[in-house]
Subunit: 258 residues, 2 copies
């Protein structure tokens, strides 16, 4: 595998840089190496409940030295998307502190029309009034942006609805189709490239999910390197339709193939 | 039109027996005539926010003498459906007093599995926890019943989401397909026939909506008579694919064609 033309990396967070509360051995050094060698990178995550600053703070707790601007999540992808379209009035249906990522990027004004209804995994912020507000904005001309479209996730107290079903509800109510700006949509990878100012052929995605990370990146024209940490299962790799450009034991080994 | 074999009627409420707070002239007498002549009938409505007793009380206020058992709505259709299947544990996602229609017909038990998740136009009862409860019951094996699947309705303060989008959300989250027991589903008309103990060929539907009332009834094997009150528009009739068996000025004229 010739990586001579590589100028940047997209690096998955959970499962590649850390699992649970523990950094993957060698991950910190790998990131330092990439920075020293002049590679650009974005640490990507599909989180739609935490803002960039909160994620960067958590990475710092884990011992990483990653600048805030190198964290790229669906809310940041949405902000980048809005910047591209030149429209900036948005109604947010999100929870946690993710609204902080939109500060300065969009204006919210309950009394007038908005350009975008932006839906993330909103948890308890999903109410009949909030869904109805979103619905009315869409019927008045706003477009729908989905930060992700997962069906559900395993919360501590059991399976819990993610953003997907509520996005589908708004789609079916209005006849509009959401632009999904989370992994594995092509829009997410395209917007991450735009954020780095690099072309797909010069960027490699490093992830532990062969479908979401590697398949998604390849569909956007990038190469993908699979790591054998966290989610990795050899039988999944053997039976997968997607073929990664390389498979390495962990992100710590990235130096060995550059 | 030969109505010699007719033994019963399904009669739409809003637009056929009354509009707003006013009874259609001749409607009371028409119902009295049908009762005297020994015809069975059910007054049908797609309301999923009011129980049978509340609807009957409102009809009484308007001067009608209609027994409670002759009111048939999607909640009653659901109760009839549950009786047919012999399963009676249900989780209700409804609002208003519609839960009263389920008293005695189903048992609710938050701690164990249920047979059915039943979703109506639930208004403010739609919350993240209520949607999540419904979702978890479905993932644990319950089936989904939709009292209706309308997308939205015109509330006093503007367009508002109806049951449909939330049913679609639960369908997309679980991969299950809801049984719709409201008009214009065939199930609704079949269950109304079952409730009267009559066959489709002996029953006539009287309604003001050529698609929902007449088309729905015909699809269930009944004949349909369109009334020229309320929603009726001659151009809609002319361009419709559905051909009613007869068109009369109002339900008050039913005597003239029997």
């Amino acid at each position: 595998m010739d990586l001579g033309d590589v100028k940047g990396f997209l690096i998955d967070l959970d499962g590649v840089l850390y699992t649970g509360d523990t950094a993957i051995p060698g991950a910190r050094e790998a990131l330092s190496f990439l920075a020293e060698e002049g590679y650009l990178f974005r640490c990507v995550s599909n989180s739609t409940r935490k803002c960039r600053a909160t994620i960067a703070a958590r990475l710092e707790q884990l011992g990483f030295d990653i600048p805030e601007h190198a964290v790229f999540t669906p809310p940041l992808a949405a902000v980048r998307f809005m910047k591209e379209t030149g429209k900036h009035r948005a109604y947010l249906l999100t929870t946690g502190d993710v609204n902080r990522d939109f500060e300065g990027a969009c204006s919210e004004d309950g009394s007038t029309a908005v350009d975008y209804v932006i839906v993330g995994d909103a948890g308890d912020k999903v109410t009949y009034p909030s869904m109805n507000h979103a619905f009315r904005y869409l019927m008045e001309g706003a477009d729908l942006i989905a930060l992700e479209k997962d069906r559900y996730w395993m919360a501590p107290d059991g399976l819990s609805l993610s953003a997907g079903p509520f996005v589908t509800a708004l789609e079916s109510a209005t006849g509009k189709v959401a632009t999904v700006v989370g992994k594995p949509s092509k829009a997410f990878f395209d917007l991450a490239l735009l954020d780095m100012g690099l072309s797909a052929e010069n960027v490699v995605m490093i992830g532990d999910d062969i479908v979401t990370d590697i398949g998604g990146a390849q569909a956007a024209g990038m190469r993908g390197i699979l790591v054998r940490t966290s989610k990795f299962r050899s039988d999944t790799l053997e039976t997968a339709q997607v073929r990664p450009a390389a498979v390495i034991n962990s992100v710590g080994d990235i130096r060995t193939i550059l």
